[in-house]
């Protein structure tokens, strides 16, 4: 190995260490980028791992906790981020590094005009269909839910727990803003319903309402056992909610529920 290449290797290592410990100046960054472009020149992840390991060792994190307001802000940003990720994954199927997939992409490209037309038609049909059935266009709802969380610091946020007729594996949460009179339910593992046979219905128990006549929170369908977000459609003003309950009812829902099938409850504590 020549002296020149030894010097370059040393400099490359020095720049990597400087980058990890102190950050690079603009000049150093240019030099780093230039060296990084050279064939077979790779950053050494084990150096970064060593620094991160010391960071962990020297951090007393079991006794440090995120402030609650910061945690809520991060949760809201996480919702937005995941929503855009989901939207992105719908728009852009995951890319593969496999050269074969490049060939198949080239073949597929000749059909794009047809595919675009078909997608437009499908989207138009879906828009019409979703306006008649209150199923869920996910990315948009996740963003709206996140915006609600970020906009109202006084929102309620409660987890679902099993009701008198539980469904195994069902979970999720409810968020509700009294100020905005808006809220969202999130479910995972709630069974898919056949809308022609039965539908889910939300009930909101409010301190200003008789326990016998909770507020109707809307009828909804579940079309996936994955994560589903459903907006709350309260028929009356909700002022002091203390319990959210999901019942299973006949299609279209009921005015007064017999509460015979009540899989989920979320109690505000």
């Amino acid at each position: 190995m020549s002296n020149n290449s030894n010097e370059e290797s040393d400099r490359w290592e020095e720049l990597q260490v400087t980058r990890l410990l102190f950050g690079l100046s603009p000049e150093e960054q240019s030099e780093f980028d230039e060296l990084a472009r050279q064939p077979a020149r790779m950053t050494d992840a084990s150096l970064e791992k060593a620094v991160a390991s010391l960071d962990m060792a020297w951090t007393d994190h079991p006794s440090e906790h995120l402030p609650e307001h910061l945690k809520q802000a991060i949760l809201a940003r996480a919702e937005q981020e995941l929503a855009s990720k989901r939207a992105g994954s719908v728009e852009r199927p995951s890319r593969s590094e496999d050269p074969q997939s490049n060939a198949s992409r080239r073949e597929a490209s000749q059909y794009w005009p047809w595919l675009v037309s078909a997608a437009c038609l499908a989207f138009a049909l879906f828009s019409w269909w979703s306006s008649t059935v209150r199923d869920v266009p996910q990315p948009d709802l996740a963003q709206r839910r996140a915006q609600l969380l970020a906009a109202d610091n006084d929102h309620l946020h409660v987890d679902w727990s099993s009701g008198p007729t539980p469904v195994e594996g069902a979970s999720g949460d409810v968020v509700w803003s009294n100020r905005q009179q808006q809220g969202y339910m999130r479910f995972r593992g709630l069974p898919i319903n056949k809308p022609t046979e039965e539908q889910y219905q939300l009930w909101i128990f409010d301190k200003n309402q008789s326990e016998a006549t909770p507020i109707d929170g809307g009828v909804f369908n579940i079309s996936s056992t994955g994560e589903t977000i459903v907006p709350i459609d309260a028929k009356l003003k909700v002022e002091q909610p203390y319990l959210f309950a999901v019942t299973i009812e006949k299609p279209g829902g009921v005015v007064v529920s017999s509460r015979e099938r009540l899989p989920l409850l979320a109690e505000v504590k």
């Binding site: 290592e13 020095e14 260490v17 400087t18 980058r19 990890l20 410990l21 102190f22 950050g23 690079l24 050494d44 992840a45 084990s46 150096l47 970064e48 791992k49 060593a50 620094v51 991160a52 390991s53 010391l54 960071d55 962990m56 060792a57 020297w58 951090t59 007393d60 994190h61 079991p62 006794s63 440090e64 906790h65 995120l66 402030p67 910061l70 945690k71 802000a73 991060i74 949760l75 940003r77 996480a78 919702e79 981020e81 995941l82 990720k85 989901r86 994954s89 996740a142 979970s171 999130r186 995972r188 994560e227």
Partner: protein, 188 residues
């Protein structure tokens, strides 16, 4: 085998993001407070770090590092970027003075820390004291090279040499220890 939190986040599982904040919030917050000039700045940094975590979750490979190490790596990248930017914009002296207000890092590993962290603290003890000192002032206190030089009286070029040699030795020692068969806790 159960998916890690980061793998679940990469798959779009939002319950995993909540669990991730619960699990690593303390680590990220602690790092951010130590390496940020103000609490407000630390709060902004923590939010940016978690966004980095969501965006990079799919790049996590369990066979290459522990999940906590990956989180700490992302956190440090963001914090160093921010620190560097602050130093360009402001007189760095107040930032550095504040950084030095933190007591020295614990010399004995906490009982519950991850294996890689435990290995790192054990390997630090094998470094020369000036190498250890430079790494401590840079990694733990976040001081720039010039301030380390002023504070220790070591010429700037030597600070750079100690930083590089110390870190390379630390890495080599950690790699060696990782190859040894485990006997309960990390041998010291």
């Amino acid at each position: 085998m159960e998916n890690s939190l980061l793998q679940r986040i990469a798959a779009g599982d939002s319950t995993a993001t909540t669990a991730c904040i619960e699990k690593y919030g303390g680590l990220v917050w602690s790092l951010a407070r130590r390496l940020s000039p103000t609490t407000t700045d630390a709060e902004d940094a923590v939010q940016e770090i978690f966004v980095d975590i969501w965006r990079n979750a799919e790049r996590y490979r369990a066979e290459l590092s522990e999940e906590a190490t990956f989180v700490a790596m992302l956190a440090r990248r963001r914090l160093i970027d921010r620190l560097r930017k602050h130093r360009r914009e402001l007189d760095s002296q107040p930032i550095d003075e504040q950084a030095l207000q933190y007591p020295s890092p614990p010399q004995t590993p906490q009982t519950e820390i991850a294996e890689e962290a435990s290995r790192a603290t054990a390997c630090m003890e094998g470094l020369r004291s000036d190498e250890r000192n430079v790494l401590e002032l840079s990694i733990y206190h976040g001081l720039p090279q010039t301030r380390i030089s002023e504070r220790t009286g070591i010429p700037l070029g030597t600070v750079k040499t100690h930083a590089r040699r110390g870190l390379v030795k630390l890495r080599d020692c950690m790699q060696l220890r990782a190859l040894r068969p485990r006997k309960g806790a990390e041998a010291r």
